[in-house]
Assembly symmetry: C3
Homo-oligomer: 140 residues x 3
C-alpha cells in the first residue's frame, strides 16, 4: 500500500493529461499487480479518462459541457444563487458533480490497465490558473 500526490497546473478550462506521471510513479513503486485509485481534492474540477488520440475530442468535450452548463451570466442560468465567486464558479461545481472525483484502475504487468486509446486527464472547470492536487493510492 503506497500513496503519493500529483500536482497539476492548469491555465483555464480544459483537459490536462497526466497519464505519464501516473505511469512513472507506478514504475518507481515496482508493483506489478494492484489497484490504483486517484482522488481529486477539489470541487471545481474533475478526473476523466478519455481518448488521447485526436485532440479535437478534448476541445469538443469542453465545448459540450460549456453549453450544457453555461456561465451564470447567461440568462438561462439566472435562477442560480451562488454567483459571488464569479460566473464560472457554480457551473464548475455542477460539472464536478457530473464527472468523476475518483477513479480506480487495475494495475496489470506494472502498468495502469488502460485501453489503447485511454488517457487520464484533469478536467479544469475554472477560468483562472490553479494548482490542482490529486491523491494517488496503490493497493498491492
Amino acid at each position: 500500500m503506497q500513496q503519493t500526490g500529483f500536482t497539476i497546473s492548469t491555465r483555464g478550462q480544459g483537459l490536462y493529461e497526466f497519464t505519464d506521471e501516473i505511469t512513472a510513479w507506478l514504475r518507481d513503486t515496482g508493483v506489478q499487480v494492484g489497484l490504483l485509485t486517484l482522488f481529486v481534492r477539489h470541487t471545481s474540477c474533475s478526473l476523466l479518462i478519455q481518448e488521447n488520440a485526436d485532440p479535437e475530442v478534448q476541445g469538443d468535450l469542453r465545448a459540450f459541457f460549456g453549453r450544457l452548463v453555461p456561465p451564470t451570466t447567461d440568462p438561462s442560468m439566472s435562477y442560480l444563487r451562488h454567483t459571488y465567486e464569479g460566473p464560472d464558479d457554480m457551473p464548475a461545481h455542477i460539472k464536478a458533480a457530473m464527472m468523476p472525483v475518483s477513479l480506480s484502475i487495475p494495475v496489470v504487468d506494472g502498468q495502469p490497465g488502460l485501453g489503447t486509446w485511454q488517457g487520464v486527464y484533469l478536467f479544469e472547470h475554472r477560468d483562472a490558473p490553479h494548482q490542482r492536487q490529486v491523491l494517488g493510492h496503490l493497493t498491492s
Copy 2:
C-alpha cells in the same frame, strides 16, 4: 479490511451531508493509512463530494439537475415510459446514472483525504422520505 453500513434518512430531494459519520467510523477503526470506498445500494439517489462552505451551492445543484431532468409530468419528458412509480421516479434513475454510485477516498493520517472545501453527501432524487443504505469498505 473492515466494512460498515451508514443509514441516511432523507426528507425529499436534496443533499444530505454525512462526512462526520465517516470520519467518526475511521477514528474508531484506528486505521491511519488506507482506502475508503463508499457504495450506495439504490438506483434513485447518488453519492456526491461537493463544497460544504456555502449552502447555496447545494440548493443550486438541486435546481440545476431538477431543470436538466424535470419530472415526467413536464411536456418535454413525455417520451419516457417508466412513469407508474411517480413523476419523480424515472428522473431519479437518470440522475443516478449521471452522478456517482461509488466513491473511493484515500485515508491519510487517520482522516479521509478530502480537500479543504469537500464534504461527502447523499443526493436524494426522490420526493418521499427514504432510509438510504451506504456500504463503507476500508482497505488497510
Copy 3:
C-alpha cells in the same frame, strides 16, 4: 488479490447486463469479504448500476441520453469538430465522460453488495457491434 476480464458483446446502443458473470466469478474465487472494482477499457461506452426490474428503465435511460447528446448530424451539435468516425462517435465520448468508467462494490458474504434492485450494466454508446473489455479486480 485477483484479477479477471469480462468481454461483453454489444449490438448497438443500449444497456447490457452482466451481473451474473460477476457473481459467478466471485463464487469461483471463494472470497467472502472484499472489494470488487470494475474498469472499462474504452472511451465510448460506460459502466452503470441501474434498476434491473422494469426493462423500460433501460430504454428510457437510452432515450434520455440520446436526446441530451444527439448525433453530430443534429443541427444543435454542429459546433462539434470530431466527426470523422461517424455521427455517433463524439456523442459516445461525451456520454462516456458523464457516466462511470470504474465502479467499486464491496463484497459481502461472497456476493456483490448490491441493493435489491441493482444490476451491473455495460452501457454501449456506439451503433456498430463491439466486443467490450472490462477488467475485474478483487481486493481481499
